[in-house]
């Protein structure tokens, strides 16, 4: 999938790290992008000759409630952060620290939930537990609520390194660890991205009433103001006037306990009205990874009309499937779309409609963009590049020189 040259590059990077003991710690084995990522990354690290493991921290029911709140607050939601919540978080981290009795060369602690473990281990042992400890932050801390960040920050200062998703996410006031930037990546073999047998693809489309002969637009995103589903419907309507057989599929993952998501879902449904050519689907209709995969592949153009975005990895998923993507010029999207080459970056409904229409009318150009997009993702946003970045960080920490030759695509940035 990535070619011999890239494989060799990984082997060269990994050679001096053979047998290195690596541990990943996170809060849950199920659900969420982090668990998905580790499920792919850990076996790859082992395959590259390292001895990598993955442990899930223990925690009470209350702890997981608290860390969910904490997570939301760090992403900018305003919450009432009480001393009791802080206590629950710390106490569960202490219990996990007491269980930690092995030695590793590298320990990667993912996200805030288990971040205080290192401090407690050091306290219990009266010294740093040895090896390099890296804190991997998968969330956008730009708008973090101050009290919650102030709770977290002192527990991060003992780390040897901190890894962020985008340079913009790095917290200026985090003293101590060396900072790195590693963008996320997709696993080409996961159910969301793997090639689909033709009968599955056809079957799914026809069961949801999509005629593959008609032009199709797809957006996969939450229903919230930042992903602008109403704007997508406007784009669709503008083009529909020119192309009456156009279809639109909007797919969201809904949580029962997300009232805001539901309110936006309802607004979206109401905007769609009784236009049966707009299909609004979600996990609650039984739409899962394979269905999303099929709809993305069937799309003539994939839209991601975000007005605010984290990394927006769904763009890479679509590019990998060879689809041209028209997307908002925000967050991590410009890193994935080379404007005019792998897709278009847009700022308004009008601009979006105009670009989408031009792609629908120029299938040759659309195909060419799709091909370029797939190549771009192959070089920059596959899990193998992610592995490479980790290997580079490990070498960097240990002071091993980069191998000769090097790679054209260097996604990792060392910021200090």
């Amino acid at each position: 999938m990535i070619g011999e040259e890239r494989v060799q590059e990984i082997r060269d990077l990994a050679a001096p790290l053979a047998g290195t003991r690596v541990l990943h710690i996170n809060a849950t084995a199920f659900g969420g992008g982090v668990a998905e990522l580790l499920g792919s990354l850990v076996p790859l690290m082992n395959d590259a000759g390292l001895r990598a493991g993955w442990q899930v921290m223990n925690g009470s029911e209350e702890f997981f409630q608290v860390t969910k709140t904490m997570h939301n607050a760090l992403q900018g939601m305003l919450i009432d952060w009480t001393p009791h919540m802080r206590e629950v978080w710390l106490h569960n981290n202490l219990l996990n620290a007491q269980l930690f009795d092995e030695d590793y060369d590298f320990v990667i602690v993912h996200d805030p939930q288990p971040a205080a473990i290192l401090g407690f281990i050091a306290e219990l042992r009266h010294r740093h537990p040895g090896g390099y400890w890296l804190w991997r932050c998968h969330i956008d801390l730009t708008h973090a609520q101050v009290q919650v960040w102030d709770t977290l920050r002192p527990h991060l200062e003992g780390y040897d390194g901190a890894i962020f998703t985008l340079a913009d996410y790095v917290k200026e006031d985090l003293g101590g660890p060396r900072t790195f930037v590693v963008p996320p990546a997709i696993d080409p073999l996961s159910p969301k991205n793997a090639e689909l047998p033709g009968d599955v693809q056809q079957g799914i489309l026809s069961r949801y009433g999509i005629d593959p002969a008609k032009p199709l637009l797809v957006q996969v995103s939450r229903f919230d103001p930042w992903k602008d589903p109403l704007g997508v419907i406007e784009v669709y309507r503008a083009i529909k006037r020119e192309m009456p057989d156009l279809h639109l599929v909007l797919i969201a993952s809904m949580a029962h306990d997300d009232p805001e998501g539901w309110a936006w879902y309802e607004r979206t449904v109401r905007r769609a009205g009784d236009d049966y050519d707009i299909h609004i689907l979600s996990n609650l209709n039984g739409v899962g990874n394979v269905e999303v995969n099929a709809f993305q592949r069937a799309a003539d153009v994939v839209i991601q009309k975000s007005v605010r975005e984290g990394f927006g990895l769904v763009v890479s998923e679509a590019l990998w499937k060879g689809r041209p993507v028209v997307a908002g010029n925000v967050g991590g999207i410009p890193l994935q779309i080379v404007n005019g080459k792998t897709g278009y970056l847009v700022n308004t409904v009008e601009e979006c409609a105009q670009r989408v229409l031009s792609l629908l009318r120029g299938p040759e150009k659309a195909r060419e963009m799709g091909r370029a997009g797939r190549e771009f993702v192959r070089d920059n946003f596959l899990i193998t590049r992610y592995l490479r970045d980790y290997l580079r960080i490990f070498r960097e920490m240990r002071g091993i020189k980069p191998p000769r030759g090097g790679s054209a695509a260097t996604a990792i940035q060392v910021l200090d």
């Binding site: 409630q65 029962h256 979600s282 739409v287 990874n289 394979v290």
Partner: protein, 417 residues
Amino acid sequence: MYGTLAIAPRSIRDLAPVVGEEELAELARLARPLRGLRILNLSITAFGTGVAELLSASVPLMTDLGLDCQWQVVRTGEQFAPVNRAMYMALGGRQATWSREMADVWQRYNAMNADLLTKDFDVVVVHDPQPAGIRSFVDERRRAATRWVMHCHLDISSAREDVWLVLRQHVEPYDAIIFEAESFAPSDVRAHGIEVIRPAIDPAGPRNMDLSPEAVASMTERYGIDTARPLLCQLSPLDESCDPMGAIDVYDLAREAVPDLQLLLVATVVPEEPLARASFDEVARRAMDYSGVFVLSGLNEVGNVEMNAFQRAADVILQKDLRRGFGLWVSDALWKERPVVAAPRTGLLEQIIDGETGFLAESTEDFSRRVVALLRDRSLDARLGAGGRRHVRENLLITRYLSDYLRLLGRLTGTSG
């Protein structure tokens, strides 16, 4: 006006290859005198429940048969959500807090929704008890001009007394109350008509559509399951009501005879509340002790097509227990000609005829014995598989459900042939 749902049109003809011309002709005959009949289905949610699945399959087919069939969703609010939840739990005989104030909220929301009924319908079908108070608050003229049906998809036979008392005065005046099984009705319910209409599966839906063996293998192997080794599968809610821990016990015991056995547990509902989440985590943690046990759920974004593939990939389907409801996912498995070993519970007894469409078992030992026998004798698989598919075709397909409904509507409106 309630929240309307845009449902893509659908043709009943699409089912002809599955059920045959004769059955379609019979449906057309039943529907003829009902052409243009205005029916409103009211439900609490638009998806994510068995009710929503049944409605999204049946409403467009009813429309195609010539009835003027609509589906709308009642208006709810932040205050109503916990009341709805508590009522649902209490009617199922489970632990819930219920108070005078909650009963008031329930009545108030039903009254508000009654005001939204501004169009005339010949028949209003209210799905599940939570919105069933609406009828009492509709103005008298409209109430008298409409036939009222409450279709209860829950087993409320062990409902909490105080909650049932609140509900009963509102539902007993209905023209008909439908239950999914006779035993799901409270023993003291009095009504003009008690009907039993079993739920049904949609053979053309994404959970049952045909998949090639290659597609099944590729979707299954991606989760690390070895398709060359025997596989057990239980696809159900993974809380104590379906005993997923018991399924692991069965696997553990059967493994002594079939060492390379694997078990796949798939949660049909995403465990969202703390309690459901806790029991799911417990199952997931125990599964980690076995390299051959896999646990998946909507949290892995497993959708209908993958559930379809998993059932097809399985050598034997388990249903270790079922304390609530009908367990319709077992019919999905029977339709795919998979042999099923299930506990003898109400809904399952409608689907599993012991020795004919599957096996009934109670203890871990019984379950394990049946599983091992099925894995060793493939001719048994074939016989049960064929029996299961036949049983579903005759009793548990959406066409049978439509015909039950058309007959009931004919009787209620005095228009049956």
